[in-house]
């Protein structure tokens, strides 16, 4: 059963996975670049991480090497920790300035 899934996954050329991940990653980068809402920026960053995760899974499948997939678990846990901390920071900011627009945060400069 598992062999079959691997097999099917391999019917799509690896380049396609790379392109897909690169595109997802770029969408994430663009999101970070053009959005001003801290939460949406944060979601875009998560998208970048997930693009990497997807590619990692693909490589792992292609090489039949479990190491890549175990790494995926680590990434997920780290991402979850990042979510926890990130949202906490955003909530803290929202309590203080009643907004999460990053453009309002420019007191530290020059």
């Amino acid at each position: 059963m598992t062999d079959q899934i691997t097999h099917i996954a391999k019917t799509i050329p690896i380049e396609h996975y790379i392109y897909l991940s690169a595109i997802l990653f770029s969408i994430g980068v663009l999101g970070v670049l053009i959005r001003r809402n801290a939460i949406i920026i944060f979601m875009s960053i998560e998208l970048m991480l997930n693009a990497a995760t997807l590619l990692l899974t693909a490589f792992s499948t292609y090489r039949s090497d479990a190491a890549g997939q175990v790494f995926v678990f680590f990434i997920m846990v780290v991402a979850a920790a990042e979510v926890a901390v990130g949202l906490a920071i955003i909530v803290m900011i929202f309590r203080n300035i009643k907004s999460i627009d990053i453009n309002l945060l420019n007191k530290l400069k020059w």
């Binding site: 670049l33 627009d101 453009n103 945060l105 420019n106 400069k109």
Partner: protein, 635 residues
């Protein structure tokens, strides 16, 4: 005894530590004794070693204290090189240094920072000894930076005055420019020879052809360092400003010792310089130009210490000329005599300033002869020495340099240098007569306070006066004596260079001519100056009076400070502001007015791109990443 040479720098260091740590607990007299005592101790040790060299009992020795760095290809040991050259310098530093320490006990007696002052002085002596004793360029550099730091601390010693702070800062920054060259030179030496030890470097250099471009670059870089430390054009403006410090500091650091570090460095590296004739020529002309320009500036200065400062710059120029024509031992000779008479002149000036309650303007002095008899006589001897009147010290050393310059570059050097020495005599006698002769021009209150200085001040003056008088016999010209003591003493150091360069000895005719012409011209100058400043009692005009353009130009030191402001300080400030604004875009509004249109345009453009602070940051990051990737793909 020579194995104990490490004690020489250690004693002042101990003195510094005691004074620095016990700042609060030591009485003034005790700290004076500790400071002078440690330097005297070093001096005595140095003398015994020196005598050993004279008797031929001591040979050049390297004393290895500990391995400083030892990893892979990099070996640097903390070791001292005890040889004829370094011992000569040590004698000057500790000898003159001791006298100045004693002098300072009297001079600084009313200052609240007495102990701090002596701590700095001892630290300075330590650093200077490290500089001359080090057996490799890195140790020399450490001492080099150390003396720079002490100089900085001592110039700004009376830090309540903002001008003094600025002077201190200027000195430090100018020196840093020089140090940059020195440091790069050291790196290049390490790269070329794989070592920074003198012995190995010079041995390696002997394998190079004369004029090899690597050697030229190395020597040029080292020379930049020397220009900074020894106040040569274009890095000389800090020295006159450095006169803001207490007078003993000017005498010790800015006349006798630290500023000669550049001379020492080149003399030490004589093998490299001899193999780089192009650099030698540059050294020669920089020295010549400096000697001349500084002397002309000195003609119209009215601050007694400023005159002496420009005179120091000018005399250092002499030494560089000597180095430039390959007369290393002549340069060291002049360095020695200059240490004597310039220290004397500064200390004498200090005594005058002390008596005048801090007044430094010679226009407000005059007629001090009868109030300060000892200072008067010693200052006269110093003036005679620096002007080159036979048989005083300056005469021998200066004429030796003059004699060396006959010949190369169709005598132009000789002519300019001779003219400079005429100028030297003029400004020195001008100062001398204005200060001590004619009638007193200060206020009544000052007149009331006039008194001869205490013994701690006058005794060093007398000793230095004696040295300035007889110091010249260290190196008599060939026509008077078969035995040139100093050049024979130093011969082992300059062996290679003397072999390489063709015989430098001038003809007997030339030496006689120089001596006779010198005496006649000097006599004329003295007569002229006496006529002008004593008989006519002419006093230089006050600052605000209209003066001829040329004189004005010279009086304002050729506007060199202003020029520096325009071409160096201003651009650096401009860049600082520029960066600040483009990058930290939010600031635009605050600074718009002070910065050029470029920045406004750049700021406006960038502001359009930017949606907010973090957004902009991330934008630049992404742009950077894209640029990096593109760069890699295009390549």
């Amino acid at each position: 005894m020579i194995q104990n040479a490490w004690l020489i720098p250690l004693l002042p260091l101990i003195g510094f530590l005691i004074l620095g740590l016990g700042n609060k607990f030591l009485t003034k007299s005790l700290s004076g004794i500790i400071a002078s005592g440690t330097v005297l101790g070093s001096f005595i040790i140095a003398v015994t070693i020196f005598l050993g060299f004279l008797s031929g009992e001591n040979k050049a020795t390297t004393i290895n204290l500990f391995d400083w760095i030892n990893s892979g290809t990099l070996h640097i040991s903390f070791s001292f090189l005890i040889d004829q050259l370094s011992m000569l310098m040590v004698l000057i530093i500790t000898g003159v240094g001791f006298l100045i320490h004693v002098y300072s006990i009297g001079y600084m007696s009313h200052d609240e920072g007495f102990t701090r002052f002596f701590a700095y002085l001892n630290l300075f002596v330590f650093s200077m000894l490290l500089l001359v004793l080090g057996s490799n360029y890195v140790i020399m550099f450490i001492g080099w930076e150390g003396v720079g730091l002490c100089s900085y601390l001592l110039i700004g010693f009376w830090f309540k005055n903002q001008d003094y702070n600025d002077a201190a800062k200027k000195a430090f920054i100018m020196n840093r420019i020089g140090d940059l060259g020195f440091l790069l030179g050291i790196f290049l030496i390490y790269m070329t020879f794989g070592s920074v030890n003198y012995a190995e470097v010079f041995e390696g250099a002997k394998g190079f052809a004369s004029g090899d471009s690597v050697l030229v670059v190395i020597t040029l870089l080292l020379f930049i360092g020397a220009m900074g430390k020894s106040a040569q054009i274009p890095l000389y403006t800090w020295l006159p400003d450095a006169m803001a410090g207490p007078t003993p500091v000017s005498a010790l650091i800015h006349a006798a010792t630290m500023v000669t570090a550049g001379i020492y460095m080149i003399a030490r590296s004589n093998v490299l310089y001899t193999l780089a004739p192009i650099t030698q020529t540059i050294v020669l002309f920089v020295g010549l130009f400096t000697a001349f320009v500084a002397a002309t500036i000195g003609l119209f200065q009215n601050d007694i210490k400023k005159v002496l400062a420009y005179s120091t710059v000018s005399q250092l120029g002499y030494m560089f000329v000597a180095l430039g024509v390959g007369g290393y031992s002549s340069a060291m000779f002049h360095l020695t005599t200059h240490a004597f008479f310039k220290a004397l002149l500064f200390l004498g000036a200090g005594s005058v300033i002390h008596a005048m309650s801090g007044e430094q303007d010679i226009r407000k002095m005059g007629g001090l002869k009868k109030y300060l008899p000892i200072t008067y006589i010693t200052f006269l001897l110093g003036t005679l020495a620096i002007s080159g009147v036979p048989p005083f010290a300056g005469f021998f050393s200066k004429d030796e340099i003059l004699a060396l310059t006959i010949g190369p570059f169709s005598n132009i050097i000789f002519i300019v240098l001779s003219f400079t020495s005429v100028l030297t005599a003029i400004y020195m006698f001008r100062v001398f007569f204005l200060t001590f002769h004619s009638t007193f021009r200060g206020t009544e209150e000052q007149k009331h306070h006039l008194h001869e200085s205490p013994a701690t001040i006058t005794i060093p003056l007398v000793i230095l006066a004696i040295l300035s008088t007889v110091g010249g016999f260290l190196g008599m010209p060939r026509i008077m004596s078969e035995h040139h003591f100093l050049s024979q003493y130093l011969a082992p150091i300059f062996e290679f260079s003397d072999l390489k360069s063709e015989a430098k000895a001038p003809s007997e005719f030339a030496e006689y001519t120089i001596i006779i012409v010198a005496v006649v011209v000097l006599a004329l100058i003295v007569l002229w100056a006496m006529n002008r400043y004593i008989k006519k009692a002419s006093v230089p005009p006050a600052d605000d009076k209209q003066t001829p353009a040329l004189r004005n130009l010279i009086y304002n030191k050729y506007y060199i400070d202003e020029l520096y402001d325009a071409i160096i300080v201003a651009p650096i400030n401009w860049f600082g502001k520029q960066f600040n604004n483009i990058i930290e875009i939010q600031m635009i509004d605050g600074f718009v007015n002070s910065i050029g249109k470029t920045v406004i345009w750049g700021g406006k453009t960038l502001r359009l791109v930017q949606t907010g602070a973090i957004g902009f940051y991330i934008f630049v990051m992404v742009a950077g990443i894209i640029a990096i990737l593109l760069y890699n793909f295009i390549r």
